[in-house]
Symmetry: C2
């Protein structure tokens, strides 16, 4: 890779970029009970290891002119484990993802990356380093909600910005429709994002209705002779907006009265791809390190492409193949700026496939059972790759368990920003820097709690996974699976619950006691669409209608 | 790779090893109707390509001192697609197969290799180049059957032997218990094999009963107070035998009166591994090229290993990992002989997993649905790798459809032995030499017929798979799947059968008309265990009991 030449600015950049920090020790961050339980067993070893890691991080910075690493976080929607980065799985699916496969070869492959089972929760977990239940976040509906990521949550963007990083977000956001939840109010200097998600943007289109993939939203295929309520269908929703930190958002996609169509969706996707390339250039040109998010809307798409590029041709599979080219283009752009050598790129999916469309979508459950919305492995296991030239071993694999929230704490550590992690609340994210730098078997968790919204549905410990018993039912009655022997969770292990039921119940208790000590935050509430300066008349009407029945009118 | 030095014997060896042959043209081999249908579309192109291939084959021989390539065919039992050769899938399963992964990297990976759904049929298809239904072969039961591969079937070993190859077989055979069916009577100069299969050898052991994996066979766990028939349980079966072509077989495992135990099974597996290494040495030392088969009994095994090497620890998964090391050892031995550069090594599984033991076995359906005995992709899709240094491109992939019977015709072609392929019967195996030498998109079939015993259960054409309608039911009513979009065959495609039903029915018709013209052979029949010179008293009794009720007593 090309190395950017830091000429005159080198000394200054180094000074600017490397504040003198007193990093938080692992003890100062408030972790969940289960991690404390592990720390009791491994604390001394980890403290020692952490000293070596600090030296390693310092050496990496030194090699890069004193600059801390940039971070590019690419998160794509609804792609199950095994669907990217593996040429053999490409053959199974009839798609080609050469760019992602190449990226996998350049990366540490996290073979047990767990997410939350849906878009909003996974993104919230990453942003806050906390299980979304702690910030009140659930799956966000399409249509107005007057809810979102609360202002008092501290996002990774805020943590990194406080430590001197430039920050930007491009693409899906999906953290709510209230002003405090917008990315430019949650730590991003710049943000280009749609206010809602792809159900609005690609499923509720006339083309999707005509393609037979979404019935009922678009009136063109229905008569509705007995319809009274004209507001049952979501209407007048804001589409794509752009904004700078502290400023107002501007809607950029639709003119007043214009109908949203598939062509708009295609254009929006292409625009985000263009904007991410622009952001790479803009951020790389600055002296400070950057934190950049690209959260594409593709592969979600509900209209078949004519003359498909892929053998599969399903409406999601085809866009996954397209996206592969786009990811390649983005990585090339990063390369051109000369910053690739000093940039951690994490690429992953946010949860399993949208199994509701299995068949025509061209994506399938493939290896694990389940998909989006499920606590099954198919819902929460994703392909995840970490490239960090000179620091992370290329073409390596780690079987250690990682949860998406771990990226929060790990990014903070490598950016020397841990002092900005809040210490008044539980941080679920474990610092996994040791895993990145020292490789497999240096992970610091062997467990994960899996929620569906506010329900704890499964606990994973090592190779075991308990599907939680209903309240009051003893642990010994709950099914326990060995996910190596039975990745599809179809054959509960004979007798395993008889001993592990107690251990799993203990884990649930440690988790519950931690919640009792540090109660959950409340979901942010407010009037939808505040802070958008060019709201269309139909959007204003939508807000008025919404507020008209709202119990706490503002 | 080391190259063996042919010194004085070079000229003679070359003369001996390269007979002047008039190869059969593709027109002279009688193929199934469907291939004729394709040949009508591509014949001219393929004929032209075949001339180039002849030149390529000649050049390869020239590079190897005029010697035709050796062939080592490794076939393992009951391992589903995706379970070998892919480091990422290793992580899913919690096993390590580094030797096979390395071998995959050195090979052409056949990504759509279809087998028959069970051991005996797949092996018969390979041996004869014909769907087993044509030779009367079905799944062979454990216990005496007095049946087997008929003498008048021409095996690949006979074809290659006729063309001057030395031939040997080590491991599972499973083609019946009658003398004409034994490998040393079907073209192999030397054979070491168990008379039956692993249900006898590893499931029906006292240890398997005590491990809870096979109830009812071993009396130790049952009272049987009302038992009259003492012969309901298979008894007195012959175990492992060894023989030379034309000679008698000698049982080598058990003394009269001795009970078969898990320890015997372990010993038998270890012996076959030792013997395959000996055979490699012995055959490599000769001037003529060799055809060597290694058909291990592992990974089938029904007792848990203590202190497992694998993270999975299931009783099949653990042995698959063990076998990986053994395969590595075998390939190394081949390397040491100096013959590796002139040896085609094909490594594959014979059908999908034994799903009956899913869970404790540690192998799972993984990607495709179904397993052994099923016409579903999980029953008939396997990992398959072809290594041929200097001829086949390493780390390459082919999405073309291949059927296990194609190896028969292809091996004959590369060995200049096509003149020995019989021309009085249908050969289903397509010559896929073009695919080996020219790579992906040079395959010569886009279809496969899938039988369960004598029932045609599915037809695959390109990405479509029809589950055959019941007799008399129109094709338009049958479910048709797109196996890229829906690898688990769970969502029949809307409407596809309406047009493809007719095309699939035409395929079935072409297949049926070919059978009408060239009727099926009859399964070989005879008295079990003839040709074994040291039959134990209990085996003699078994044969007597069997013959006592046999309608055609001999």
């Amino acid at each position: 890779m090309k190395t950017k030449i830091h000429t005159l600015s080198l000394g200054l950049a180094a000074m600017l970029a490397t504040p003198v920090v007193t990093p938080l020790s692992a003890d100062e961050i408030i972790h969940d009970g289960e991690f404390q339980f592990l720390r009791q067993q491994y604390g001394e070893k980890w403290d020692k290891e952490d000293k070596e890691i600090d030296q390693q991080l310092a050496a990496i910075r030194e090699k890069n002119g004193g600059k801390r690493p940039n971070i590019l976080y690419i998160l794509i929607d609804d792609v199950s484990f095994g669907q990217m980065g593996d040429p053999k799985m490409n053959y199974v699916m009839g798609i080609k993802t050469p760019s992602i496969n190449k990226f996998s070869d350049e990366s540490l492959n996290l073979m047990r990356m767990y997410t939350e089972p849906s878009c909003t929760p996974t993104r919230a977990a990453f942003l806050t380093g906390r299980h979304p239940v702690r910030s009140g976040i659930k799956e966000v509906k399409v249509a107005l909600v007057g809810e979102g990521l609360p202002a008092n949550e501290v996002t990774i963007a805020e943590v990194l910005k406080s430590a001197g990083y430039n920050t930007a977000h491009v693409g899906k956001w999906h953290q709510g429709d209230i002003e405090q939840a917008y990315p430019h109010n949650q730590g991003f200097d710049y943000a280009a994002f749609p206010l809602h998600q792809q159900v609005q943007l690609t499923v509720m289109t006339p083309e999707s209705a005509k393609a037979g993939n979404q019935f009922g939203y678009n009136r063109s295929l229905q008569n509705g002779a007995f319809e009274l309520d004209k507001k049952f269908r979501p209407f007048g929703l804001v589409t794509g907006v752009e904004a700078k930190a502290g400023g107002k958002a501007v809607e950029v996609d639709l003119k007043p009265g214009e109908e949203w169509t598939h062509a708009h969706y295609v254009k929006m996707n292409e625009r985000y791809q263009r904007q991410i390339l622009e952001q790479v250039d803009a951020l790389a040109a600055k002296d400070e390190p950057f934190f950049l998010q690209y959260w594409p809307l593709y592969p979600l798409n509900f209209v078949f492409d004519e003359n498909p590029e892929s053998l599969n041709g399903g409406f999601h599979a085809e866009k996954l193949q397209l996206l592969d080219g786009w990811i390649g283009e983005l990585l090339e752009q990063l390369e051109k700026t000369g910053e690739a050598d000093n940039t951690i790129v994490v690429f992953m999916a946010d949860n399993g496939l949208m199994y509701h469309y299995e068949g025509p979508s061209g994506l399938s459950q493939l290896i694990y059972r389940g998909g989006k919305t499920n606590h099954l492995e198919g819902g929460v296991r994703v392909d995840a790759f970490v490239r960090w030239p000179g620091a992370v071993k290329p073409k390596s694999y780690a079987g250690d368990i990682v949860h998406v929230s771990d990226l929060f704490t790990t990014f903070a550590r490598v950016a020397q920003a841990t002092e900005h992690i809040p210490t008044d609340r539980v941080i679920d994210g474990i610092d996994q820097t040791a895993l990145l730098l020292k490789g497999e078997h240096h992970g610091r968790r062997d467990y994960v709690y899996i929620y569906e919204n506010e329900l704890l549905r499964s606990i994973v410990k090592q190779e075991y996974k308990m599907h939680m018993p209903a309240p009051g039912v003893p642990g010994a009655a709950a099914p326990v699976f060995n996910i190596f022997r039975d990745p599809r969770e179809e054959h509960a292990q004979i007798g395993t619950a008889l001993w592990s039921g107690a251990s799993f119940q203990d884990m649930a208790k440690r988790h519950a006691l931690t919640i009792a000590k540090y109660p959950h935050n409340k979901l942010g509430k407010g009037k939808p669409y505040e802070g958008i300066q060019n709201l269309r008349p139909e959007s204003k009407e939508t807000v008025e209608t919404f507020m008209s029945w709202h119990p706490k009118k503002k």
